[in-house]
Amino acid sequence: MTVEERIKNVIAQQLKLKLEDIKNDSDFVKDLGADSMASIELMAAFEAEFDIEMDEDAALSVKTVDNAVEFIQNILDQ
């Protein structure tokens, strides 16, 4: 499974959404309905899925699914 697919699976599981409703340009807040608490849970779920540490201040720049893929891929590449 690609990083993108794994990210979408995490999003679907955390936000209780269908995979097909999660687009690359979906905005976490506006399109996927992630409120502040859901966003924090998502970040924790990404960290667990990829066994990474996300800088919480930097992670605030993540607004869309594409942003999340890029952000996490960057960490995995380091």
Partner: protein, 420 residues
């Protein structure tokens, strides 16, 4: 005579309450441990020793040139006093023979002549104290040293009574509402000027004195039982403030509160029970936040101290909530909960566990990093501005330091939560 109030190495037993203040700035009763020591000693030259990262903030609060002055250890006779001393049942005189007074092998105070002090070699204060203690004649005394956070709560009632007895202007200095009622001995009530006692307030001194400081407003349907102390600029919005509470300054309270200390600038503005607890500064307890202070099997309460569970030996122990932490509506805190500083505790329908680390968001029964330190800092700035207090650059540096200090512990609990 230079009087030195110092922190010894047990300051971390009192985390999270001592992350942002020296041990002697903790409250027990209406006043802090330091204020009680200074009151006992009277007029003198006081100096304070403190962890380095706290110094810039407390230099402003305690006075320039008063903090961590190693030079004053050699230039005069000395009286060293342990900042964990609850100075209500121990009498220490400025004058007297050279001696080290110990209680359960812990230094309570040491009196040292200048000539002896000059001979003591040291690299840091702990070493000075250790070397001084070893050369001085020792005597064992009875004293109350605050070893753990719950000791503050256990001694709060008698400390309030002592604070009341030490007042020099005892009395009711305001006009009470004719519909307010006093139950018991009226002479056991002190209400300072500027305070307002509205109708349908009851003040009950049957079991102890009640001290209400300046500019306090007690709103209708508030019942206050002594011993009790309400600090300056605090408002009580109804409810049952039961015996043994020291609240304020600048707090907003409501609901049922028993045997608790609310340090200052904190809110418990709604219904919910707070018992046998110590709440730090800038804390907000959401509506219906309730803590347990008694287990259903009546066994003694264990609490986390430095990562290990310690038996308090006491059946009645509530929560200890660090500065700047907030709880959501309906939060239920288990018996003996330790909540770190600057954390955000969100109710998820069950009991919050015994330990929540500092600087985290506790969501769905697990610790998370939340939106990070910068976001927490912004929240602190906002909550302080609501009470016209500015978070200073020194405050910010102190908070950043504690954020780094607590990183490892936080990571441990976050990882533990993610595995469960």
């Amino acid at each position: 005579m230079n009087v030195i109030i110092f922190e010894d190495q047990k300051f971390d037993n009192l985390y999270p309450l001592t992350y942002l203040r020296p041990v002697y700035e903790l409250k027990c009763g209406h006043t802090t441990l330091r204020q009680k020591i200074e009151r006992m000693i009277g007029s003198s030259s006081f100096y304070y020793f403190i962890r380095d990262y706290l110094a810039p903030v407390f230099e402003k609060k305690l006075g320039n040139g008063k903090i961590n002055r190693f030079d004053v250890l050699k230039d005069n006779d000395l009286l060293l006093i342990n900042g964990r001393l609850l100075a209500i049942d121990t009498k220490i005189d400025l004058d007297g023979p050279e001696q080290a007074a110990l209680c359960e092998n812990q230094l309570v105070y040491a009196r040292i002549k200048k000539a002896s002090a000059k001979k003591i070699t040291f690299n840091h204060l702990d070493e000075f104290i250790k070397n001084a203690t070893s050369i001085l004649p020792q005597k064992n005394i009875a004293a109350t040293l605050i070893n753990y956070p719950w000791n503050l709560v256990q001694n709060n009632g008698k400390a309030i009574i002592d604070d009341f007895n030490q007042l020099t202007d005892k009395g009711i200095h305001v006009e009470l509402s004719p519909q307010a009622a006093i139950v018991g001995d009226k002479s056991l009530i002190h209400i300072a000027s500027g305070s307002l006692i509205r109708p349908f307030v009851t003040l009950d001194t049957t079991n102890g004195s009640i001290l209400i400081d300046e500019n306090v407003i007690i709103h209708p349907y508030t019942h206050i039982e002594g011993p009790n102390a309400i600090g300056k600029n605090t408002e009580a919005f109804g409810g049952n403030i039961r015996a043994g509470c020291a609240i304020g300054p600048v707090c907003r309270v409501h609901g049922e509160i028993e045997e608790s200390i609310i340090h200052g600038y904190s809110n418990k503005h709604h219904d919910g029970f707070l018992g046998h607890a110590y709440v730090g500064e800038w804390v907000n307890l959401g509506a219906f936040t309730t803590n347990s202070d008694l287990k259903n099997d009546y066994t003694t309460v264990q609490l986390y101290v430095k990562g290990e569970l310690v038996d308090s030996g006491d059946m009645k122990v509530g929560s200890f909530i660090g500065d700047h932490s907030k709880t959501s509506i309906g939060t239920l805190l288990t018996t003996g909960a330790m909540i770190g500083i600057m954390s955000n505790v969100i109710n998820a329908g069950g009991l919050i566990p015994k330990f929540v680390p500092s600087f985290c968001w506790f969501l769905k029964n697990r610790a998370t990093k939340g939106f990070g330190f910068e976001h927490m800092l912004k929240t602190a700035v906002t909550s302080m501005e609501r009470r016209n207090v500015k978070l200073t650059p020194e405050d910010e540096t102190m908070l950043r330091t504690v954020f780094e200090m607590t990183k490892e512990e936080r990571s441990f609990w976050i990882k533990k939560g993610s595995r469960s």
